[in-house]
Symmetry: C2
Subunit: 352 residues, 2 copies
Amino acid sequence: MHRSVVLSVDAMGGDHGPAIVVEGIEILSDAFRNGGLKVLLHGDEALLKPLLKQHPKAARICELRHTATSVTMSDKPSQAIRKARGSSMWNAIDAVKSGDAHACVSAGNTGALMVLSKILLHMAPNAHRPAIAACWPTMRGVAVVLDVGANVECTATQLVEFAIMGGAFFSANQNVDSPIVGLLNIGTEEMKGNQAVRDADAILRKVKLDLNYTGFVEGDGISKGVVDVVVTDGFTGNIAIKTAEGTAKLAATFLRESLESSLISKIGALLSMGAFRKLRAKMDPRKFNGGVFLGLGGLVVKSHGGTDGLGFSNALKVALNLARSDYAEHVAGNLKKLAEANTQSKLESVSK
Amino acid sequence: MHRSVVLSVDAMGGDHGPAIVVEGIEILSDAFRNGGLKVLLHGDEALLKPLLKQHPKAARICELRHTATSVTMSDKPSQAIRKARGSSMWNAIDAVKSGDAHACVSAGNTGALMVLSKILLHMAPNAHRPAIAACWPTMRGVAVVLDVGANVECTATQLVEFAIMGGAFFSANQNVDSPIVGLLNIGTEEMKGNQAVRDADAILRKVKLDLNYTGFVEGDGISKGVVDVVVTDGFTGNIAIKTAEGTAKLAATFLRESLESSLISKIGALLSMGAFRKLRAKMDPRKFNGGVFLGLGGLVVKSHGGTDGLGFSNALKVALNLARSDYAEHVAGNLKKLAEANTQSKLESVSK
């Protein structure tokens, strides 16, 4: 029996506004007809009421919470802070803080959402920096990569914390026990990589965590699916994920150009239409929507700003999976073990 | 009128040994029938003589230089150093040092080739670290990415040196004047990224170099071809290039699986065969073969170890393009300007 979940949703974020948000809730509610799901919908009621009328299933599970202002996609984090109080984004996060909801979902401005989440929810106990985790299609299904942009530089301990959070997130979202966790590096031998990566590897091998750590993974190992969770700093992770996006687009463009280069291959492409549709579905970015902010004192899921209703429903699904799981307890337990081990080793080095 | 060029080739490197090396020389000599190219071929004459008999065009331009030993693909750099003297790899590099050849080409062990090249050729004047540059297919043709693995961590000055070397290499290899150079970063705004990247950006904007620097480029910008030269540290560059390789393989696998999933799409795929052949040719890794070691006191081109004759001929072509160009003079001029600017700014900061 699943526990019942309340999601707090910022209806005003994203490039396409409340319409895709309400549509996303409608899609999700369709899949969860047996109840146990409630949504607090934060935003302009003048816009939201007519949308809820058009989406009766969404309306049934939504509780409308009017806000007069919202953070825009072009606001810088510093601007967002000034005008944030009482905005749909602020209130959506605040409902998690107050305990009204289990998780917050927003398609709004990433920088603003991160800053406001940190202000309102603070860090989880024993966590030092939040990380953004993203899902990535692989030969074996899906992998989680983190951090993909919150932290430009990371210490070894922070990388280990990301390993803990990423492992728990993968478990919760994919319903897999003890997923395989690896550290992204430029080789798989022990002496490879920078100091932070080598030290993180040593800590992960030494400290007895509830974690299935396997060692280093190289860039081409991500898409191969050699691990479930790929841990890296936010600089490398951001460049890896954007490089992969760019390469996938390049391959698609080259494929299209090649198929359009002769009449016979155009006919072949028509016959293979179904196959191309399957291919597109497999790589569909909407399926991988939902960048999760890990390490905070509450759950916040960031939907891609340019997504549609289906994509937004996937971000909601991620939040639901996290809220229903023992993600928070799992992370808290492991982070405590890590903090104790760090204290211990400091005491040891002092006594030497 | 091109200047005549002597290439010094390690015939014993690579997974497939001397056969692909001699075949590569044959292919290249076919394309350069008008003379002006000579090859010093270092390796075991018992193996090479029969191969040269089978490849008369290669034989015409090759001068065989017998060596009894060679560095193997599995040797660690430290082992390679011990047994290196008199090996085909050592002698191939040494011919550049002695002035017998303009550039060295080897498909051997990357780590060993880098260590021996540094020992024999030292750094170029005013260059601090060597970088490995790789070619990358893009929407607009080809880009050069460096460093892809020689330096795990880089200072701002080292990144600027890589920008200088990468720009000159692109000019020489693609025959393009003032290629566009960018720094790989997680955003295009000035305040994005780590300290080294931000400082390198500031130096590139301030110091008057003979270089067409455009600013930051993101991961997805590489395949888009927004710049010709992508500058980054060896950790990020290695992960970016391997992530791209992995993604391209994933896309190819998904495409094949989709096409094989029904009879009608299989027929479609048969009709589109020519298009798929074009696609494969466009992304053919052999076309992009030739990782160049930049920053040394001589030219060394590393061919992929697993390549074939065509791939090796492309590595030879890269060495030929570099040797024929004013690459060395261009780099020397810019590195001198950079060193003078650095001295100047240190004097300024002292006098403050």
